[in-house]
């Protein structure tokens, strides 16, 4: 019961902060509400007793990726006057929600329809077991991910590097 309560609080928090994130005008506000959202997600992982993902979420998303975003925002020194002028933001968002609605509705409907009966007890997944799974069954994707990261690294350096005009 307690875990349910915690889940509801976290979920509400997550949805509200996400909504703020997608609807606020200033980027930095958006980034900070994203931080809250990511932390709520970490909390949700905690309710799922997935310690590894809890840590990963905090370290990688909140710690690394979002810091990078905030760093970029600072680095580019985006002032309010440089922000996009979006006069029809609300209208656009409502319009988009109308388009998105069927997707959401259909997906939720099918999830409701589906039968997840053979559920097990929630157990704590240890980091060691995750590591074993990763290295026993998912070696190839893991290796490929490393190459993907290498590519994106080299790519972003290539593209972001300032060069003399040709």
């Amino acid at each position: 019961m307690l875990s349910n309560m915690i889940f509801i609080i976290l979920a509400t928090n997550l949805l509200i902060s996400s909504f703020v994130m997608i609807s606020t005008k200033r980027v930095i506000d958006s980034a900070l509400s994203m931080l809250i959202a990511l932390l709520s997600i970490a909390g949700i992982y905690a309710t799922l007793q997935s310690s590894f993902m809890f840590i990963t979420q905090i370290i990688i998303y909140a710690g690394a990726i979002l810091s990078l975003v905030i760093f970029i925002i600072m680095f580019l020194n985006i002032k309010d006057k440089n922000l996009p002028h979006e006069p029809h933001k609300t209208r656009d968002m409502i319009l988009t929600s109308l388009v998105v609605f069927p997707i959401t509705a259909v997906l939720i409907y099918f999830i409701k329809l589906s039968d997840f009966s053979n559920l097990n007890e929630k157990t704590t997944s240890s980091i060691g077991k995750v590591g074993l799974e990763l290295y026993q069954n998912y070696v190839l994707p893991f290796e490929l991910i490393s190459i993907l990261l290498l590519i994106s690294l080299v790519g972003s350096i290539t593209l972001a590097r300032k060069e003399k005009d040709v």
Binding site: S114, Y138, V139, P141, I147, I151, V154, L159, V166
Partner: protein
């Protein structure tokens, strides 16, 4: 012992990583030579696997049957290697003349080819996605490689945002499939689907639909076609032909593999969608192609139409099964040859701006050879008889008729008829106008030879080997594409 393909994969990877490491020390010339040799050596090396029908799982114990190497993927791998080597050869002058091409760009070409090879071999949803991302990310970077041109950066921007956006659908679909079936492997998935009732498959069906959306985005099918014109337009020409001619084929290789797996119960569900998609893709593509001024944009739009034809073949596979799939393979070969050739010719035209119909005027008098080659490619793309494009269309339409999709075949023929308008406009402006200033071309003899080889293939495989019974030709090609389907 390593398989040949593993050696090739490791070889290309090692070369690319060492190029990354030594990128500051190497001159562009050296890096160009190294990548060219890498690609062509791998091609030659893999040729020895050609012949028998085979199917092996790569490092089954370690990789958990996530990669499969069969005659089917071998054909595609050979196409990727050969066409990227051709691409490098054709656009040599282009690469050396434009200062933004650095060692890195060659690395990304290698990486993207590597990703495509993996893609055509992947036997698992997550591996397929990562391979797709490897190829796409390299291409994102390549699209934006010309940092000084706004259009290039903009194309990079649009491609990256749209690609990641649509990629998220794939991941969602994968997850939905996974949480219902508990597996991501193609084989296990097929087993799961065939052993369960449709009530237990809802999430798999929806997830499959989302995965389909992403793949359709990558082949620029309706309604996900909108990006392709802008991005093909903004990218440097060799990269455009990498995207249009090679990347698209790799996507089709994985689509075909997915489609020919044993998803009988789902095919009826997806088939109407594919038919609709193919109808609208052909219509939208031909609408767009007609109104373009830039030839690059026109080719991009027409590549949408070609995706539509390929979708026709896909939908006839759903009804009559494997016997139609060779028509798709054959069309892919036809399309890759013609588009590689036509974009290659465009990349040999030294023009500061876009190549438009206007600027092609009088090309036949300044460079009759290239004009002739261009005409051959245009004829092939339009599907004129005695070119390989005609045979490709012929097979596709006949398999559509065979699977009682005659209206689709008629619409296909109609759009092919419309396509004559914009393809012949190119020929007309090359041949029937004289008075425009001379277009310089990059006159590299190697590029000329490669262009000539491609056009020869286009004609030779199009005329058919019935006249030269003892030489390998079209019949063997069709036989081969039939046989590789069996290896799936």
């Amino acid at each position: 012992m390593l398989n040949n393909i593993e050696i090739v994969l490791l070889f290309i990877l090692a070369i690319s990583i060492s190029l990354v490491v030594f990128s500051t020390k190497l001159s562009l010339q050296k890096a160009y030579n190294i990548s060219l040799i890498t690609l062509s050596a791998s091609f030659v090396f893999l040729l020895q696997d050609l012949g028998e029908i085979f199917s092996t799982l790569i490092q089954k114990d370690i990789f958990n049957s996530m990669l499969i190497y069969d005659s089917f993927s071998l054909l595609f791998i050979l196409i990727f290697l050969l066409s990227s080597a051709f691409l490098l050869l054709i656009s040599k002058e282009y690469i050396f003349d434009h200062k933004y091409f650095k060692v890195e760009s060659l690395i990304f070409i290698l990486f993207s080819v590597w990703g495509m090879i993996l893609l055509s071999m992947s036997n698992d949803l997550i591996v397929a996605f990562i391979a797709l991302e490897i190829a796409s990310m390299s291409i994102y970077v390549l699209v934006g490689i010309n940092k000084h041109k706004l259009k290039s950066s903009e194309a990079f921007f649009k491609y990256l945002v749209l690609g990641s956006f649509m990629g998220a659908f794939y991941l969602l679909g994968l997850t939905l499939v996974f949480i219902q079936s508990g597996t991501t492997s193609f084989i296990d998935l097929a087993k799961y689907i065939s052993t369960h009732e449709i009530e237990q498959l809802y999430l798999v069906i929806v997830g499959g639909l989302l995965i389909m959306a992403t793949l359709m985005f990558k082949i620029s099918a309706f309604p996900f076609y909108a990006w392709s014109l802008d991005i093909y337009d903004g990218a440097p020409l060799p990269i455009t032909s990498l995207m249009a001619g090679i990347f698209k084929i790799s996507i089709f290789s994985v689509i075909l593999r997915l489609f020919l797996s044993d998803y009988i119960s789902l095919k009826d569900l997806y088939d109407p969608l594919i038919i609709l998609a193919s109808i609208f893709t052909m219509l939208a593509g031909s609408f767009l192609a007609i109104s373009q001024d830039s030839i690059k944009r026109m080719l991009a739009a027409s590549s949408i139409v070609h995706s539509g034809y390929l979708l026709i073949a896909l939908s006839s596979i759903a009804t009559i099964g494997d016997s139609a799939s060779y028509s798709l393979v054959f069309y892919l070969i036809a399309y890759f040859l013609s588009s590689l050739g036509s974009l290659g010719v465009l990349s040999m035209i030294n023009s500061k701006d876009d190549v438009t119909y206007e600027s092609l005027k009088g090309f036949a008098s300044t460079n009759p050879f290239l004009a002739l080659m261009m005409s051959i490619f245009m004829l092939s793309l339009a599907g004129f008889p005695s070119s390989i494009g005609f045979l490709g269309k012929f097979y596709i339409f006949s398999s559509a008729i065979e699977s009682s999709l005659t209206p689709l075949a008629i619409l296909g023929a109609l759009t092919a008829f419309i396509s004559i308008y914009y393809y012949f406009k190119v020929i007309a402006s090359m041949y029937f106008h004289k008075n425009i200033s001379v277009l310089l071309t990059y006159s590299n003899i190697k590029s000329y030879i490669i262009i000539f080889i491609i056009s020869f293939l286009v004609l030779y495989l199009g005329i058919g080997s019935s006249y030269f019974t003892y030489l390998p030709g079209t019949n063997d090609l069709t036989e081969f594409s039939k046989s590789i389907i069996n290896s799936l």
